[in-house]
Every structure is written in C-alpha cells, then in structure tokens.
C-alpha cells in the first residue's frame, strides 16, 4: 500500500470567495502580514501497489478536480 496525496486548488483566475473571506478575517483576529489566501482541497488516498500513475492522474482529472475551474497535483508520499 502507498499513500497518495492529491491537492486541488482553484485556478488563479477563478474568484475564490472562501479564500478571500479567510484572508479578510485574519486582521480582525490580530494576525497581520497575510496578504492573500487561496482555499483548496487535500485528498489522501490509500492505494494498492498495482495502481499506476496514469490511473491516479485519471482519478484526479476526471473526478477529484474539475479542470474547468481547478488545478491539481498528484504525489506519492511516505505513509
């Protein structure tokens, strides 16, 4: 078994109102110096050894992310 992490982020040109709301809240909470926040999704998949990279890429592209509005990365990590 391997652990695979898929990170999905809104594309830079797509408005991210949730990230903006977080950014706007930080000064109110007394945290200064944070100029921008983007909010995305982080998936951790437990993957059998015979699942290849092409399959993982397909899972990310067709299901976990919507390529119209989101970018994504797939990486294998130490479990």
């Amino acid at each position: 078994m391997a652990r695979v992490v898929v990170d999905v982020m809104p594309k830079p040109e797509i408005l991210d109102p949730q990230g903006q709301a977080v950014a706007n809240a930080l000064p109110r909470l007394g945290f200064e110096g944070i100029t921008a926040v983007r909010q995305g999704k982080h998936f951790e998949l437990e993957v059998a050894d015979d699942v290849d990279d092409a399959t993982l890429a397909k899972i990310a592209e067709t299901f976990l992310a919507n390529p119209v509005i989101e970018d994504w990365t797939v990486r294998r990590v130490e479990a």
Binding site: I14, L15, P17, Q18, F63, N66, V68, I69
Partner: protein, 223 residues
C-alpha cells in the same frame, strides 16, 4: 409528451418539475438515479436539490450515476434535456454544457424572486418566449456563480448561446450575468433559477416559468 424527471438521493425539486410537466399537458415519468434506461421518454429534466449531498463538488458524483450515462447518450443524439439549478451543475460536470458553477461571490445562499432576460428563443425549451422578454422566477442557490474561460465566454456570446441573463444586480458573481446557457445544438439547456417553481400565481411569483415546459411540448410535437 412523456418527460423523464430524474431523482438522485438528495434531489428536492423533482415533484415540482413533474407538476410543471403536467401543467404543460405532458406525462411525467420518474427516473431513478440507478436506472439503466430512460423508459422511452421524449425529453429529460434534471431537477434541483443537493444530489449526493453536494459532496466533492455540486454534481460531481451525480454525473457518474447510471441514469446519467443514458441521459448523456440521448442528449448527444438530440433529445431535449433541461438542467435546473443542481441539474445545471450536473450537466456542466457531465460536459453537456461548458463551464462550471462556483460558490456565490458573496458566500451567502441566495433565495429570492429573480428577473431574467430571455436572450435565445430558438432552443428546445424557450420557443414560447418573446426575444428580450423579462421573466420573474425564484432563484435559490449557494453555488450559482457561472464560470468559464474567456474563449468559452466569447463562443457562448458569439453564438447567442446565453439563454437567460440576470437583470439588475448580479446575484452570485456569474460571468457576464449568465443565468442559463444552451449547447450548440440547442437541445440541452441549463439554468440556475427555477422555472418549475413559477408555473401558477398561486404557488409562485408568476407563471413565467411555464413557457419552458410549453416550449418543450411544441418541440416534441413538431419533432
């Protein structure tokens, strides 16, 4: 006229969509998300709600439901398909319509009666309207912001594929005030507002939405 109305776990507006079909003298045929056939219907409505709890992204899981494979195949052959609200999100996720629906720009769920301008009266669902008519129907959504890249927006505008546009203040941050669009063929239409909630003055703000279902009747009869 037999019109399929799809129900997923979490669908809310299937009953109102069925009622709208009946108001247009059609027979509403319930379709379940696990069905593998469309029961010989002439058209399909994918109604609003929160299919599969909106998990992952709105419409992302519903797109892969067995019944949707049949809907996608039929739509690509020219069957009229209408996606309302969550149904619009599902049709976008299924690539039957371009673009995507995202979180409202002010983050609030919007629930109000909304004026729309009808900008395309050639689709399977809008022939009964006058071009440029303004209609009042309910809008109720938290993820109704229409997004697409510049090339897609230009294509939609150049080909008059924006079917409905918000009038007045943009309720959700949709690009170009887009409330609803159609595919190149004009058989598939998706919109965030709810025409099926505006089919008589007793239960809706107007009966302005009924025109979509009467338009379908004309389309099916003339097919």
């Amino acid at each position: 006229m037999r019109v399929g109305v799809v129900t997923f776990p979490g669908t809310l507006d299937d009953v109102d969509a069925q009622r709208a079909v009946k108001y247009a003298d059609g027979e509403a045929v319930p379709l379940w998300h696990g069905d593998h056939d469309l029961k010989g219907v002439d058209a399909v409505i994918v109604p609003g709600g929160f299919s599969y709890g909106d998990y992952l992204r709105c419409g992302a899981i519903a797109r892969f439901a067995p019944v949707m494979q049949e809907v996608i195949e039929a739509a690509n052959k020219g069957m009229p398909v209408l996606g309302i609200c969550n149904g619009f999100q599902i049709l976008a996720e299924a690539h039957l319509l371009p673009g995507a629906l995202t979180r409202n720009h002010k983050l609030h769920f919007v629930c109000r009666d909304q004026w729309l301008k009808v900008e395309n009266t050639n689709t399977a669902w809008t022939t009964r309207y006058d071009l440029g008519a303004e209609i009042l129907v309910p809008l109720k959504s938290g993820e109704g912001g229409y997004q697409a890249d510049e090339d897609t927006l230009k294509e939609l505008e150049d080909e008059q594929r924006v079917v409905f546009r918000y009038v007045g203040e943009n309720p959700n941050g949709s690009r170009n005030n887009i409330a609803g669009i159609t595919n190149a063929r004009g058989n598939v239409v998706g919109l965030m507002p709810h025409p099926e909630h505006a089919i008589d003055a007793l239960t809706g703000p107007t009966d302005d939405g009924l025109g979509m279902f009467l338009s379908l009747l004309d389309t099916v009869v003339n097919a």
